[in-house]
Amino acid sequence: MSDNSKKWFSLNLNSKTKQSTGSCGCGSTTGGCGSHNNTVEVEQKKDGFEQVFDVKMDRRTAFKQLTASLMIGAGAVSTSCSVIAGDETKEKSQIDWEEQFKGNYKLMTDEEKNATVNRLVRSYQIRTGKTLNMSSKNAEEDVLFGYAFNISKCQGYMDCVSACVEENNQDRNSQMQYIRIHEMKDGNGFNFNEADDNYYHEVPAEGHFYMGTQCFHCDNPPCVEVCPVQATWREDDGLVVVDYDWCVGCRYCMAACPYDGRRFNWGKPEVPEEDVNKNQHYLGNRLRKKGVMEKCTFCIQRSRAGKNPACVDACPTGARVFGNLLDPNSTIRWVLENKKVFRLKEDLGTEPKFWYFMD
């Protein structure tokens, strides 16, 4: 095992070379961070499309062929099922058909990503008569997102939580929340056991301090390893994302996450039509279905468009800092270089990209 390819901690087994401290851009002063971009390569495994229309074709022709055959199939199904069905019904069933049998987003080409996004937008249009804007923007180069949380500043207002719910179209029925704010007693230190993450009283409460947790977007995420179908993965800009359409709902990732960062749609998620955030990303806040996993994506639809996640913008105390770890002039880099930062459960080797600090 070469140590250079891994930036998180690994045992230097059976090797004469000294283990170097991984020159992780996230905290280190060297400019070597750019070299991490290649650590997680998209694996060249074959997905359904390639398997079916094997190697002699390239992916694009294969996809065209597949689409063509699917159209024929879907067309046949829909026309034979209903003679008097309108064009929209036919189109809808065709979209449903293609969506049911599409491949894993992680392995799609840009064209395929576009195609599925277009289908989803069109399907929403047919169903509700409203348009939405869905992006399939890929990770940019030389970007690695990181997050810092100022424990001294947080007062537990939970504006971040409600902003997150609105931004990310979370299920209102089950009151799903990605962020948990833990209310802790002064003098007890970081004692999560005695903390309350479900309080309904006026804040800041006397003699308490607050600490927020969410998905930490680990650089070595255990959830990604255990997924049997690669429905969750780490993007090149460090975001750990889920393809909601590829997830089979086994919840192994949930068991593997040491940070309570993942949420499951136990029932059918519902967002009132007027509350739906129509500015969406395929890997982010698009509407989910029942039986799939979801999680914080650092608001991928915002962060990849150069904005802060909703929680950062909503925080009234400025306790939340977000930015590009590879940009030496970013606030997050300033925090990491000038504050005494720490991370939770570092001994697990997960390398979260979420730091805590105090004034």
Partner: protein
């Protein structure tokens, strides 16, 4: 063409065999069918409303289904304790029991797969997991290993008995050169399925209760106690209700296997308890929850203490030759041992893994009636499959079903 003829005649004869039987047999099958239908009705509710109809939540995200799955992998693996003596060590006393053991393995594996499917949030996209068509995250995900080993074991346990019965059906002697390699492979494979299933949990650094080097070995020990215990009970039933001869010697030998496995299991339990409670750390909290309750939350207490008492009583009863050789005592001990390990390797293992949560939150889990309905339905499915397999196998073994050349 000859083979096809034999095969179709075999299928016809076995359908005849499983549709005809005594009144008790018909009542039994009707009862199982009814329970399965209830289970299917419960599952249809779950399909419609999602897993929200179960007791599982974001805090405890695996429950009764995965618990039963884990336990049944052990039952399936236990067939090896009959296969090895029969085919590898050539112990004639086990010969009568081995087909029953393999049939039990098949039924247990079918239940395992049914439990996994019942636990899935998106059963309609399960094809994503089929290697070649979907994306199979092998070798990173232990769940993919589990899919491979379970299906491989299912194949082995169907093909070997099928070959043997197919030959016997024609009045021939099965050729050991054909089935012995398969039997040998299945011995290692059986250990593999249960170890891999243990690794599924053992490999999670997020859950200290499972992240424990003893988990795999203890899985094996408890499986080799509970599985053969069930086989003894089944053999006792078959002995009473059919013409199939099973000698006392056979049952006594299997009882010895159960005894040793139960003793080893108890030693490992003591080792685990010592580690958790002699110098308790933050990581012992789940064990505290399981055995003593945490923060006034004590849902598992009655279960685990029942399990431990039954476990100890059964092991003591089995340890004394006099008691073990008395069949009434033996059957009682096997029954309570089976129940004890079902609790311990089922929700006694899975649920505390999630409690307390990653940040110390203690949220308890209680299965809903729908969940229990699906679970019982799947057990009925297993019993149904096993009855069919056993009835055909016994018919062929005692010579009632034979190929007739026209």
């Amino acid at each position: 063409m000859g083979r096809l003829k034999v095969l179709s005649s075999l299928v016809k004869d076995s359908i005849g065999a499983i549709t005809h039987g005594s009144k008790k047999y018909h009542i039994w099958m009707a009862f199982l069918t009814f329970v399965m239908l209830v289970g299917m009705y419960c599952y249809s509710i779950q399909l419609e409303h999602g897993l929200s109809v179960t007791g599982m939540t974001d805090r405890v995200s695996w429950g009764l289904y995965i618990s039963n799955f884990t336990f049944l992998v052990g039952v399936a693996a236990a067939a090896v304790m009959l296969v090895m003596p029969t085919y590898v060590l050539k112990d004639i006393d086990f010969k009568q029991a081995v087909l029953i053991g393999e049939g039990l393995a098949v039924a247990a594996l079918i239940m395992c797969l049914a439990f996994v499917v019942a636990d899935m949030g998106g059963p309609s996209v399960l094809w994503h997991m089929i290697p070649g068509i979907g994306v199979f995250n092998f070798p990173n995900s232990m769940l993919t290993w589990d899919v491979l080993v379970l299906n491989g074991y299912l194949f082995l346990n169907i093909s070997i008995p099928f070959y043997i019965l197919y030959e016997r059906y024609q009045g021939k002697t099965p050729n050991p050169k054909i089935y012995i390699p398969g039997a040998l492979l299945s011995v290692f494979w059986a250990v593999g399925i249960h170890l891999v299933t243990a690794f599924l949990y053992q490999g999670l650094q997020a859950r200290p209760f499972w992240n424990n080097a003893l988990l795999g070995p203890r899985f094996l020990a408890s499986a080799f106690a509970a599985g053969p215990a069930l086989i003894i009970l089944i053999l006792a039933i078959i002995r009473t209700f059919t013409a199939f001869k099973i000698e006392d010697k056979t049952i006594k030998k299997i009882a010895l296997v159960v005894t040793i496995a139960a003793q080893i299991n108890l030693i490992m339990l003591i080792s685990e308890l010592f580690k958790e409670f002699y110098a308790p750390t933050h990581h012992s909290e789940s064990a505290y929850y399981l055995f003593f309750g945490l923060d006034g939350k004590t849902a598992l207490l009655p279960w685990i203490w029942t399990s431990i008492s039954l476990n100890v009583i059964a092991t003591i009863l089995l340890t004394f030759h006099k008691l073990r050789n008395n069949f009434k005592v033996l059957f009682f001990a096997c029954f309570i041992l089976f129940v004890a390990i079902w609790i311990e390797k089922g929700f006694g293992l899975i649920v505390p893994g999630f409690i307390p949560g990653p940040y110390g939150k203690i949220a308890e889990y209680t299965p809903t009636n729908i969940e229990i309905g699906v679970t019982i339905g799947i057990w009925a499915l297993g019993a149904f499959v096993f009855t069919i397999l056993a009835k055909t196998a016994i018919g062929i073994e005692i010579g009632k079903l034979r190929y007739k050349k026209e």
